[in-house]
Amino acid sequence: MFELLKGLGSWLVSGEQWTGSDGIGHRLAEHLQYSLLATLVAAAIALPIGLLIGHTGRGAFVAINLSSFGRALPTVGLVVLVFLASGLSMWPVYIALVALAVPSIVTNTYAGMTAVDPEVRDAARGQGMRWYQVLFQVELPLALPLIMTGLRLALIQVVATATIAAYVSFGGLGRYVFDGLAQRDLVQVLGGAVLVALVAVVLDLVLSALQRVLFRHRPAPQS
């Protein structure tokens, strides 16, 4: 145990570990690229779906159960399947990560929308607001805290899972985990795992800080 932690210490601080194409700097940048791009694409797909279902109330069953389906989907299988269909490309990684992130965002966006007080919605309609005005000026702001929860949850899952990129020959911090497994170099595996966890925690803190700065004038509607 002590050996492993000592190894981790020197692994993390050694200069050559940070530079070059297999350096931590490069792997970190790759990992961020995979995770952020996948989460953004997922948000672009999932937010409209969640808002629409929440606004119209149609398809609620889908919205509620989608996150369960997302959790059930075996990422390894999905990656391999897309790999066999598309060959050596980034598609397996991005499709699997987006598929992982979409359900959490849809379900939480929908939950945020249903948490909006129906009376507030009716009052807005009563004032003669159009449907899109109700959606964007009333419902969306009130649903934002839960939407942000969904985004943060999705991002954490994606960061942890982006490790799989290394399985289909690409980079990211997962490189250390898979190479470490092949070489039975547990220090490398631990190093990769710690860095992934660190990235997830830091990104989550950044998002929660962002949430606080952006929406501090609006008290959250629920606890």
Partner: protein, 325 residues
């Protein structure tokens, strides 16, 4: 994939395992770092070994295999040979690399694995120079950790090959591994991750031929990743197996090895002393003398191209060659 074997693993959760499991759990519940190194427990040694002594295969032999299809074929061939001699076997496919398998063999999770002479030698001694079969066999016997032994090596051989596409060979004028050094810093090599640290890999290519690649890409062992990358041009040089029928099918050029970096790679059984009785020795020696490189290559083709089960092709081959109950 296994048939009857999987079940036996499921039922193997005896009370002792469960106790070890709970102990591990409390360590693991805190931080993985804690779990990864909590004291010196290596696996569940008491599991089926039945204590030291001269070695006996009575309790059955668990065969572990590495993460590429040929090794599974070999694992099932061993199983077929042992079963023909009345020994019970369990095959555990796709366990990982040699780096993972050998500690598992020492720890008792597996008892036997199909190995390759030269690669095993370099795993045990990165500075090893022997390339001739007999010398390697002696060196291996000396180097193996206590509790493990190798049995006589077989006829079949699957060596490492460093291959390039016809176009790359023409473009850079590549015929032998020595030619690679003329293009230091320009070419990308693709191989399984463990090859980066192996003598028959980045280390040896640099020491023996002075080759330095622009990049090492971690792919797989003569599998879809490395072959896909070579085809696509993502890598210039690929580490493949000589028993891979794709080399001929794709017209790839295998670089020659004038300085004998790549040692002979005859298939050799690596076994734990506790299981190495005379029945096992005889059965595996007989298999080794019958199975040729050509047979092995053909079995690989059946599995990789015709999508036959490694288990089926192995048992069929064994039956055809009179190795059956």
């Amino acid at each position: 994939m296994t048939r009857t074997n999987r079940e036996s693993r499921v039922t193997r959760m005896n009370p002792m395992n469960r106790r070890a499991l709970l102990g591990g759990l409390f360590a693991a519940a805190t931080v993985p770092a804690l779990a990864a190194c909590s004291s010196g427990i290596t696996s569940l040694e008491g599991d089926g070994a039945g204590g030291g002594g001269g070695g006996s295969s009575k309790g059955g032999v668990t065969i572990g295999t590495a993460n590429f299809t040929e090794n599974q074929v070999l694992g099932y061939l061993y199983a077929a040979a042992l079963e023909a001699a009345g020994v019970k076997t369990t095959v555990r496919p796709n366990l990982g690399t040699r780096e993972i398998l050998i500690p598992a063999l020492r720890g008792g999770d597996i008892d036997l694995l199909p190995e390759y002479q030269g690669a095993l030698l370099h795993y045990l001694d990165t500075k090893a120079t022997a390339t001739e079969e007999g010398t390697m066999q002696n060196a291996l016997a000396m180097l193996l950790p206590r509790g493990l032994q190798i049995l006589p090596y077989g006829e079949a051989e699957n060596a490492d090959a460093f291959a390039v596409t016809r176009e790359t060979a023409d473009e850079y004028g590549l015929k032998s591994l020595a030619d690679l050094a003329k293009h230091n810093g320009k070419l990308v090599i693709g191989a399984a991750p463990e090859v980066k640290k192996r003598t028959v890999g980045s280390v040896g290519l640099k020491e023996v031929y002075g080759v330095e690649f622009k990049e090492f890409k971690s792919l797989d062992s003569s599998g879809p990743l490395v072959k896909g990358a070579l085809k696509k041009g993502d890598v210039d040089v690929a580490n493949l197996f000589t028993t891979d029928t794709d080399i001929a099918a794709e017209g790839w050029v295998v670089l020659t090895d004038p300085k004998n970096l790549i040692p002979g790679q005859h298939v050799v059984p690596l076994i734990a002393d506790r299981k190495a009785d005379s029945t096992v020795r005889k059965a595996l020696a007989r298999l080794g003398s019958v199975l040729t490189t050509k047979d092995l290559t053909e079995l690989n083709r059946l599995v990789d191209k015709d999508r036959k089960d490694p288990e089926d092709v192995a048992y069929d081959w064994a039956a055809e060659h009179g190795i059956k109950k």
